[in-house]
Structure formats: C-alpha cells, structure tokens
Symmetry: C2
Amino acid sequence: MERQQGSLSERKAALLRALVRHYIRTGEPVGSEALAAASGLHVSSATIRNDLAALEELGYLTQPHTSAGRAPTDLAYRLYVDMLPSRTKLRDAERRAIVTFFDEALADVDEILRGTTQLLSRLTRYASLAFAPSVGESSIVRSELIGLGSATLLLVVFGTGRVEKRVIEAPPGASEDVLERVSRTMMQAFRGKTLGEARVEAEERTKVASGDERVLLERAGEALRSMEDAPDSEHVVMGGVSNIASEEGFNRRDTLRQVYEALERESAMLGLLREAAAISPVSVSIGHENPIPGMWEASVVAAPYAAGGGTVGTIGVVGPMRMDYAAAISAVRAVADRLSAAVEALRT
Amino acid sequence: MERQQGSLSERKAALLRALVRHYIRTGEPVGSEALAAASGLHVSSATIRNDLAALEELGYLTQPHTSAGRAPTDLAYRLYVDMLPSRTKLRDAERRAIVTFFDEALADVDEILRGTTQLLSRLTRYASLAFAPSVGESSIVRSELIGLGSATLLLVVFGTGRVEKRVIEAPPGASEDVLERVSRTMMQAFRGKTLGEARVEAEERTKVASGDERVLLERAGEALRSMEDAPDSEHVVMGGVSNIASEEGFNRRDTLRQVYEALERESAMLGLLREAAAISPVSVSIGHENPIPGMWEASVVAAPYAAGGGTVGTIGVVGPMRMDYAAAISAVRAVADRLSAAVEALRT
DNA sequence: CCTAGCAGTCGGAGCGGCGGAGTGCTAAAA
DNA sequence: TTTTAGCACTCCGCCGCTCCGACTGCTAGG
C-alpha cells in the first residue's frame, strides 16, 4: 500500500519529474542508473526500476524496446507541467529584451503583434503566433463611406488601433447627393458604438429609409455584419517558423510537414488559441491534447492578453513535446503581460 | 571539331535536356543506358558516355561517385530552362481553376493576393509568394486626419485598393480648429496626387505656415515619407509553405531550415522578387543564381503583374532545383496575367 | 520495502562479402 | 573521325554476421 499524493507516491512523482527533465535535455530514453544519479533520491537503481515499471503500467512512460530506457508519454508531460513551480523567474537578459521591445511604443496593433511574435520566438527558439484582437468589442472612432470609382464605395470603420474596410456597390445611378447624405448619417450615427450596435442602427435606419438610400444602408448593414463575422483584422501573425525546421524534437520529416500544414490553417490555429484564451493565465496543450491531428507531436503554450478589462487576443509558442516548458511558460506570460499594457496604452 | 550550336553540339544539348528531364522525375543520377532509352536518340550508350564525360568537363554535370550516373548542376538546369519551349499549354483543369478563382471578383487587393498564393501553391505544389503592390505609384483617392485620443492623430491615405496609415502626435494644446483646418487642407490638396507629390505639397505648405499648423504639416510630411519608404502594404504574402516540408527535393534537413529562414526574411524575399520583376515576363532563378545563400538549393519562378501600364508587384513560386519548370512557368505566367487583369479592374 | 547480483534481451555499430549499376578505355567498324 | 561493342574496373549499398553495451526484470537476501 503506497502513500498517495495526487495519485502517485511522492517518490514516483519525483522520479517522473527527473526523468522528464532529463529527457527534455537529451532526447534519449532514460535508464534507471542515470535517473539514480540525476534524481537526487538516495535509492538504488533497482528500486527505481521497480517504480519505472509501475509508472509504465500507469501509462506515463514508454519503452522503445525492451532493453532501452524510458521516454515520457503525453501524460507524463502533463503531470510534469502541472508539477512545475507556478512561477519561475525569467533570466535577466530575457526580461531586459522584453522591456526594451515594449519601450519603443508602436502605435499600430499589427506592428506590435508582428514584433511580439518575433520577440517571443527569439526568446524561446520556438515558433510563435499571435491572434490579433478583433475590432468587434471596441468602439468605433470613425466611419467613412468613400467613393472609389464609378459605382464602388468603400466603407471604412476605424476602431482603436484597427481598421476594417468593405467594398459596397452603389445602386446604379445613385446621386452624389444621396451618397453624401448617407455617408454623413453613418458617420454621426456609428461613432462610439460597437460594430454590433452600429449594425443594428443601420438596420433600424434601413426600415425608415427608401429608394437608393435604403439600398445603401442595407448594404452598409451587410458590410458591418461581415466585419463582425470575419474581420480582416482577425488573423494570426506568426514569427520564427523556421525554428520548427531546426527543432530536432521533430525528428520525423512527416511530423514537420504536419506541423507546418497545421500552422497554415488559420482557422485551426484560431480555434486552438481561442480555446487557450479561456484558460488563465497560461495554458499548455501537450501532444494529443491538441485538437488538430497535425499537432499531436507538438505542444502549445498560450496566454491571453487583455485590455480594458476584457481579453482581446492570444499569443503563444509552438514547439516539440520535449520543449523547455518552464522557460516557454514564463516567457509567454511575461510577454503577454507587457503586451496587455501596450495595447491598453493604445486605447488612450 | 564539333558542329556548335549555342556552345554545345546539338546532340549534347538534346542529351542534357533528356537527362535533366529524367533527373527531375526520379531524383536519381542518370546513367548512359537509361539515357539511351529515354532520349530518343539512336546512338549507343557508349557514345552517350563520351558525351556525358565531355558535359561533365564543361561543368554541366556531376557524378556523386565514380560508378554512379550523372546529376545536373545549376548550369544544366539553366540551359534546360533556356531551351524550354517558350510556351507550354496549361492543362485544362488548371486553366479552369485559375479562371474560376478570378471569376469571383474580390475587391480587396490583400484578399486577392492571399487567394492568389493559395491558388498558385495548389497548382504547382510549391510554396508561393506574392509581393503586394505599393501604394506609391497609384494616386491618392482620399486622405484623412483622424483624432484618436487626447493628443494622437491618425493620418490615413487611401490609394487604389490599399490603405496606409500613420500615427502623428499633435502639438500639445493645439486647438480643434487648427486640426480641422489642416485636415481639410490636406484632404483637398492631396487628392489625385501620388505619395511623392503629396509629400512635396506638404513640404511646400509647411514653409508658408506657422505655429501649430506648421508643426502638423511637417509631421504629416514625415508620415508621407515613411509611407513611401516603408509602406505597410509592401509586404510579402505566402501560401503553401508546408509544401516545402513535403518536398523531397529538399532532402537534407539543413536545407529545409535555410529555405524557411530565407522565406522569413521579408526584405530578402522582396529584393529577390523585385529583381525578378525587372525581367519580363517570367524569370527563373536557379540555385546559386539566387542572391540569398539560404536559397542556393532552391529555384524561384517569378513574374511581375501589371496594371495601368506599370508593374505593381510580383508573384512567384519557390521549389527545389529539380522542380517541374515547364509547369511552374506556365502556371505563374497564367496566374500573373489574370491577376493583372483583376488588379486593373480594381482601379476602375 | 529496498538492494545486490545476475541472466536475458535487444538495438546499433562495425565488418566483410557480394551484386549491380555504371564508368572509362580500347580496338574494331562505319 | 565518329560510333560501337566489349570488357575490366570501381564503388556504393545491401545483407548477414558478430559483438558490445545499455538496459531490463527477476530472484534472493538484508
């Protein structure tokens, strides 16, 4: 009968931790002898062997073949991450890099995010991604209807730090006058509203208008809806993706391909990150925990960033399962914090 | 003494062509026997061996080891491409895919380009990139100065299908009145001009203005210059980059990494594509012909696209040296043509 | 419950031999 | 002079082999 903690005896947990740490460093299956030396536990390798066998039985370890050491499974990584001290200190150089980056205040969200991914991938040596905040929640600063050519108009909506635009066909033969009027109306009516509110407003006004004006307002409403549903700005910014190719944790060529394919599916990544955003403050998805099959050999460390009291987006890194979780987590956390502040500052 | 054509006897050229074709298919060094069968030439393998030795001497071929067949060098690919019939017909399915894609007229240049890269990489199975047209040459449709918060303004310039924006700090304590005035001035003065002309205009007006107005105009001028020098819109969009990871032409892991690293350096890619844009209508850079060391194992097929009489951007594909040049060239050409038309249509 | 010892297993490195693909050369034919 | 057939030679890659070492699991004793 074992003393239990969580569901594992203390020693087994310590062993597992040591093993994962060792495996992350070397990438080679770990043997009982090596563990005896590295774990700091004062027990013989034979004892350790017994424990290892038990841990394997429980699904935490695998043996590539009978006479090899053990390698961690997804489950082991999960336990390892959960056992990680909740905060590890960032190294000075890294902290400094982050501060320096955010010191030079950039004014454009896209620019900030691009820089952020580069920063993050430089810090961690993994690929990094950022999910841009949607214009949806923030309020409209200004909106414009601009004549582009004979019969095309461009509806432009400025949010905080973001711009959405949609092309609208003008009704054939619509007078300058009408265009002007509608443009002015919208400009005044939309200011300070969110996208959703603006759309409702447009719909309201559609009902009471007629003729060309009605058509225009209707189309503007559609455009607003499209901005809500699929904003241009709602995309994923990536940095350091070549790190994936260098990463020896992805040893099989096929794995590499799958990860790159997954990264290319914006929508998939969006889902992955959005899911992570719900979990505060830093979420880690390991191997098969990822919803996308192509990422089953990879891990994702993600954190939401917030401004004005609400989450607006997510950043994260993608690396091999044997990534340096402690470093990745603290880097992502620190960058997310700073990023929140930077985005907050933009909202002035 | 040989009958020369170009600088190679006719048979040698034919041999080289057959060899490259074969190597592209198989990826294995080609032997004299196989060539005798494949080339269609009615000569014995012994004769071919002699020619091969000569071609090797001339630097067109290499032998991995004494008892292996021959593989083409960069030089051979170059000759092969130059000997390619100037136009090969696109397969029906491909032509149809292109037409279908451009049929659904998209209104936003960025959207079109993103779609174009996806189309191109689906057609060719290589990674593809597109270099967005700069707003620089096209004329300004509208420009706006928008108050974002307490002391920040956003200068927004609409070109044809593109938007550039820059943040400007307002002079502390500047009156609404001044802002309004400057905004109106610029709106009228810039319309129809190119970015460069608008900047000159701003500089002119700076000279005769004073006080806050002068400061504002000066900063607007700087913003315009920054748009000229480093437009937001001047970026590279990529598609199908995971094709690089699947591509067995990149057999060494290290090569893969280098190509991905190169692709991440936007500026490098820009240079590469811009160079290609000068050469009409389709340019091919093979191996060491590429200016970036990381791309020395790769080939780039690129073509400019034009609208309104001038080149506005470039599209291209990146693949292994043993790529299917004929297919890539015709796909790139066809897509570039259609893209030109689509962008042209945008300028209405 | 832990440990020492030991037999057993299995992959990987190293080695030699073999077969095959392909070459270069030579000498004869066109 | 060019082409061809024939032939000896080279060298890679594969196969099977053995051996080594790194582990394990088990057993028996503390």
